[in-house]
Point group: none
DNA sequence: GACAATCTTTCATGAACCTTTCATCAGCGA
DNA sequence: TCGCTGATGAAAGGTTCATGAAAGATTGTC
């Protein structure tokens, strides 16, 4: 899943980012409210972790802007412990959940899992393809013969293609969803992981299609 | 999609144009505000990338003129980084999105994708003809038996004829819509792609008609 | 019938894509 | 600590396929 963290305390943000990446998510960091506002006008993330107190533009305004645009992506609001009134305001402004600092990472992780189950992300609960089942919480792919052991990056690729529901996803978009926007990894790496995932999916009723110059999509094998 | 870039810095404009063409769009360049104003009175583009600071006529006036004429085509405004007040003014004047220079091309690309999904372009979402469906966002043609894998140029041709809604489109206009105005490609290439697209559409209830000296049109096959 | 417009196929080229190999590194068990 | 395993990303070489030009066939029009 692509997660964007909007938090001006860089140490905190990096700490969270590091562990979320460890869980296989693609994470983008933004430290400024106005920047976040711009970023969120795109379809660049599936979930937002949003600090209330921000330079540039108040977190609540960022959130309000999203909702006003009809953007219903799940937002988890972070607040300092004292500012209970903030959390109330946050929920009013359309936050899906909130978390008071300081918090345990495990709690954050659990909330994210919960949010991704409901939220627009999980509305398209199309977690099956061919004979395979994908569990977004566990980030595991299960086949008829039990769990497939698939490395992080390949799972992320699988997830992105699955969520695209048969639409073609450009190589650049796949790169973003594997590494977050603005990574310095070559596009060619996508080809490598497509190749590896294909090999792993051999024998199952799933195939990854390519359209030159357009991108990749995943579909059940045609017979 | 046909995109017009209104930007007086020729190097910047060409850089963007080159990469957008790479993504399969037809791109026109205009370096002057007054010229842009004239150009935009025609139906020569589906999306406008507009620099604020222009010779001839201010970008904001160009934009205001469009909106005043009832022209609702999506406009992405470019501003220098410092001029935050400009961006606010731009949004007020009817811009659909803005982007501060300097920017990564990938970000521009993502914004364009987002704009083409919403905007008036996306209002005519999922165009249909014969048994075929065209998704302008995904640039994909779907038939009864699933996705047709059609190369960039042929998709662009298909899209243009589809948008013409049965009217005849001249060979020159098709050329422009495939390569942007003023390309040095022969008109005969249009014939080649018509031929290729026809072959690909064989078996579906769609045909491409020709009127000598006039142009081409697409229609559902007469039984 | 003559001529131009259009159609279709063929071809060379280069870009896009596929796959494997390699070096590196982290994690893990002995 | 040492060695093993497997993930990772870069690189390299091979293959496929979109592309645009060209050329000959065909069709429509006068």
């Amino acid at each position: 899943m692509r997660i964007v963290i909007v938090e001006d305390n860089i140490a905190v943000a990096k700490g969270i980012a590091y562990r979320l990446q460890d869980e296989g998510h693609a994470v983008d960091l933004i430290h400024d409210g106005a920047e976040a506002d711009v970023f969120l006008r795109d379809d660049g993330a599936d979930l937002v972790i949003l600090d209330i107190k921000l330079p540039g533009m108040a977190g609540l305004d960022v959130l309000a802007g999203m909702r006003q645009r009809g953007d219903r992506r799940p937002v988890l609001v972070l607040t300092a412990h004292a500012e209970l009134s903030d959390t109330v305001a946050g929920l009013d402004a359309g936050a899906d959940d909130y978390l008071a600092k300081p918090f345990e990472f495990e709690e954050l992780s659990a909330r994210i899992r919960a949010l991704s189950r409901r939220g627009p992300v999980a509305d398209r609960n199309l977690l099956q393809i061919g004979g395979l089942t994908f569990d977004p919480g566990a980030r595991a792919v299960t086949g008829p013969g039990g769990d497939l052991s698939i490395p992080r990056r390949e799972v992320a690729l699988f997830e992105t293609l699955l969520n695209a529901q048969g639409r073609y996803v450009s190589k650049q978009a796949l790169l973003d969803s594997l590494y977050g926007t603005g990574s310095d990894v070559e596009e060619a790496v996508v080809e490598v992981y497509v190749s590896r995932l294909r090999k792993r999916l051999r024998g199952f009723n799933v195939e990854i299609l390519v359209r030159r110059g357009i991108g990749y999509s995943m579909a059940e094998a045609a017979t």
